[in-house]
Symmetry: C2
Subunit: 192 residues, 2 copies
Amino acid sequence: MNNMEDFFNYLSNGLSVSDEARDLISSIAKIKRFQKGDLLIEQGQENVLQTYFVLNGVLRSFVIDKNDKEHTVQFAIKNWWISDYIGYYSNSEAMLNVDCIKDCIVIKLNRASIQEVFTRFPEFETFHRKNLERTFVRLNKRIVNHLQLSARDRYLNFITEYPEMESVAMNYHIASYLGITQQSLSRIRSNT
Amino acid sequence: MNNMEDFFNYLSNGLSVSDEARDLISSIAKIKRFQKGDLLIEQGQENVLQTYFVLNGVLRSFVIDKNDKEHTVQFAIKNWWISDYIGYYSNSEAMLNVDCIKDCIVIKLNRASIQEVFTRFPEFETFHRKNLERTFVRLNKRIVNHLQLSARDRYLNFITEYPEMESVAMNYHIASYLGITQQSLSRIRSNT
DNA sequence: CGCGCGATTGAGTAATTTCAAATCTAGTGG
DNA sequence: CCACTAGATTTGAAATTACTCAATCGCGCG
């Protein structure tokens, strides 16, 4: 369907959404469409007020270093959230870019509105807190993997962990997520 | 002082602690002392029910890989929290070890008791949620740094970010946190 | 003094990157 | 249907970075 209903379905998985909460969320959540290549957040922009929930498509967040190389921080597909969470949560300028790698339909929410939801409906704060805890685990695992695994093993882990990404992300997106060059990834793939 | 009062001072920084909350916390929080080398959590143990708040001393969490090499995931000093947050939040067996690298005084809290505090005093859940968001930013920054910086730059970033760690952690602890060998760190240090 | 642990240094080796060229692929127009 | 093109991927060879293994150094402590 790719509409607001999908978002409420997602929410229903973790909490029960009252009619009042539903009304408030409907009024603050905006559905947006983007095309492959569109930039939702740009490194250096003054502040990061938005976070996005993916209804359809694929996005990624990435940083461009001083040598103009891109490094993928996160991918997002259906039912994932994405933003520059460094800028978003530390209330600073954008440290990351967010762009579409496939045409997308997303729900755009801003921090202040979400805060309002938390205040009026505390169960949403609990839901968010549990999400954060799960994400926290994922980030810790990524760090642990990066510390102890070889490039090849990180790749093998990636494709078992996120099997859907191989077909939608390009070679160099995945390489830059794994912290290697696209040439190295190509060589790893060729003798697996 | 290194007693419970320090913990309440820490909490007072982010919220106002009612007398009732204070009573509940006093009843569930246990002060524990550990010596350098003591293991608080051991990789593989059945579950991770505890998290620790540091009153004094230095601890670290780390993983031992299949070649018996240690990789430091996190350090903790006064006013930091530490545990195996992978096991703790995903309710699984311990993926990490936690040990003392200096004699420690910590407050031990368990998940179920903390949940009770959240339920009875929702402002603690908000406090925790904000902490998680800050930690989330730190982990994202660590990943970004790992992706885009050289070993030398990661080291330079580490000593500006955590200047107190250089004197309390050993060479190979820091090296294993940065994802390099102790020999490489030694060489980096010698021509800085 | 001598032991033990941690840090440093050196030399050879392995893994990965860099730069450049070649190949593949999907889409476009003749 | 085929040729062409632009973008993406692969391959090769040299250079770089970091690692391994081994030996040595330095220091605190019994």
